[in-house]
Amino acid sequence: MLSTPSLVLAIMLFGLGVVGLLSRRNILYMLLSLEIMLNAASLAFIAAGARWGQVDGEIMFLFILTLAAAEVSVALGIVLQLSYRFRTLDADAFSEMRG
């Protein structure tokens, strides 16, 4: 069956998302990497649901989709505000809190 290759693919996609999140400093690309990681998680859910013949995997996919939509709308608003105020998208430039 396809469950093991699907999980391997999910792990690979999640790893690519983590690498992108850690290596890129442009905040827009960090958001894209977050989307990739969310997609990998939903692929794992769907593969598990298909493996056991249960519907819970698809329901978790629906919830992840809702979460991604809400997250992207708020995060892109933050990106717009940051670009208005700082004139850059470099994540290292947003260091007013000295974190």
């Binding site: 396809l2 690519l16 990497s33 809702t66």
Partner: protein
């Protein structure tokens, strides 16, 4: 059947690699759309047809359009920058990957009734019944998440005026 999965998986990984290594935001978004469509094909092969349709409509449609709007809103767009973004060569990579996916879909349509995938109506019905049965609290929580998302996006999306800074 399995070979279709592996081709779609290869397309997904290649397109995702190009997303995280590209320097142009619009090109990276193009590749991400291709990766999402390939992932939708994988969902279809796994027997989750409704999830595949939602992946294309909401992820590939709505969320990617949001990203493209924001990329277009960021900063004043010079004509020169537009020209570098829309070079004809930019379409070749995503176009080839999407053609591979189109070939797979064509093959799936051509073999027609001999699909090894079980397209079961009872499964989709089960999803709906479970969503509004045991998972109803999750639906309520999702609505409580989406409303603050809407208000937050409205609040953050305003352009700050000069005097309020």
């Amino acid at each position: 059947m399995e070979i279709l999965f592996y081709i779609a998986a290869a397309v997904t990984v290649l397109a995702t690699l190009r997303v995280i290594t590209h320097v142009h935001a619009v090109h990276a978004l193009l590749y991400l759309v291709v990766a999402l469509i390939a992932l939708a094909l994988i969902f279809y092969l796994l027997g989750a047809q409704f999830a595949a349709a939602l992946e294309i409509i909401i992820y590939g449609g709505a969320i990617m359009v949001l990203f493209i709007f924001v990329v277009m809103l960021l900063g004043p767009l010079a004509v020169e920058q537009e020209r570098t973004w829309l070079k004809p060569g930019a379409w070749v990579g995503p176009g080839i990957l999407a053609l591979v996916l189109l070939g797979e879909v064509g093959y799936l349509i051509a073999i027609g009734d001999h699909l090894p995938i079980t397209v079961s109506e009872t499964r989709q019905k089960g999803v709906s019944i479970a969503l509004y049965g045991p998972y109803i609290i999750g639906v309520e929580l999702a609505s409580m998440l989406l409303l603050p998302g809407l208000i937050g996006a409205y609040h953050l999306g305003r352009r700050v005026s000069k005097e309020s800074r």
